[in-house]
Symmetry: C2
Subunit: 246 residues, 2 copies
């Protein structure tokens, strides 16, 4: 059976989780605990040397990178429920939207999330304890991000990320004004990958994502939350509870 | 017939160009002139509102984003020459490598290229002429990049990009030590997309890309340059001549 190593149903972890739930593909879920840096432990780095979730294990193969995993599931375990348009142009549009999440949308939202919540996970550690944790992180850029989360991100970086978030919200809202779904006239991996980042923004960024300013984005978020597969996923897979910044 | 709007055979423009040459797919090439900012002119923004090359026109459809175009060609015009592994795991590995180019490798090399060559294109303009050019650029981040290229990139950014380039060279070289090609045991879009960035690095970054320090990368670059399709592309599509930084 497929094994999925992930955190709870948010951000990159949600992408393959929701893909599996939408398809109704049976899998064995292994939820790692970010609070104890389980993804940087040796047992998990033996599965993904980059120390990052999600990772999918299919027999003797390991597939990493959330968006790549979603297309892999579509290629190798398509099942009855198709989440990729049948036509090449629709697929191209879908890939432009998933690529945009990975290159732009996820990063600005992620930095603010780290600023608000993730820094707390390491602020109570002593310098020595923190350095011990950082030593276990294989990706240099992730080490930098952990240090910044602990010390505090520079204000000009936070301002720039907020600008990008506002731009992203407008881009999604404008497109969804004329389209029920993001690409190919159907619910696809483009919706899943963008929803993985956008879900909850009506709570975390209410000044941007609200009925008055982004009605089409709000409608699309509600529409996806109402899907049976989404409800089943949230009911079955617990979400991490991170304490907001003091 | 397919129409491809691009610059010469380097960086993102090379990705679909070489894909078409490898497949032997007939197409009408339209080479834009970056020295006169042709990609920011209204006629081209009517084709791609982001003002970026490459863009592929297939009948009444426009496909943008270089990596997406390559997969589109494989989906819609596969022809005899397959550039994507037939198995799902091989495709996933190919996509991890093309994604890595778009998210990491192309950016560090690009910044140094802009620092060395592109800044010259705008240094002789008056402030008013330059602002007029910038106004025509639809993507905000590209406006910022043009300003930085003109004013000079901050040294700490240049240092960080050089660190990333050294890391990228090592990553490619290590992988190519045990693999003839990057993914799936065959020449794929992963090779095309990485070659589009890596080709010429033995001249532009000789301190990193040389026989002693990166023999496998040097071997792979030479091997791709020897392919008939690559030689045909370089013979038929002229490269821009940019003057190095004074």
């Amino acid at each position: 059976m497929l094994k999925l190593y992930s955190f709870g149903p948010a951000a990159n972890s949600m992408k393959p989780l929701l893909t599996l739930y939408e398809k109704g593909t049976p899998f064995e879920g292994h939820r790692l605990n970010p609070a104890i840096f389980e993804h940087h432990q040796d047992w998990f780095k033996a599965i993904n040397p980059r120390g990052q979730v999600p990772a999918l294990v299919d027999g003797d193969k390991v597939i990493t990178e959330s968006t790549v995993i979603c297309e892999y599931l579509e290629d190798e375990h398509p099942g009855e429920v198709k989440l990729r348009p049948a036509d090449s142009y629709g697929r191209a549009q879908m890939r432009i939207w998933t690529k945009w999440v990975d290159e732009y949308f996820c990063w600005c939202v992620s930095t603010i999330g780290w600023h608000r919540y993730v820094g707390n996970m390491v602020k109570s550690l002593s310098d020595a304890e923190f350095e011990e944790k950082v030593k276990g992180i294989p990706v240099f850029e992730q080490q930098v991000k952990w240090r910044r989360a602990r010390e505090g991100f520079p204000q000009d970086l936070l301002d720039e990320e907020m600008r990008k978030i506002a731009f992203s919200v407008k881009r999604l809202n404008d497109h969804l004004a004329d389209n029920e779904w993001l690409a190919g006239g159907m619910f696809t991996l483009a919706d899943i990958c963008n929803f993985a980042i956008a879900n909850g923004m009506n709570y975390s960024f209410p000044e941007l994502v609200n009925e008055a300013d982004a009605p089409h984005l709000v409608r699309w978020i509600a529409q996806i939350n109402a899907r049976p597969a989404v409800q089943k996923m949230f009911a079955e897979v617990p979400m991490e509870k991170l304490r907001p910044q003091d």
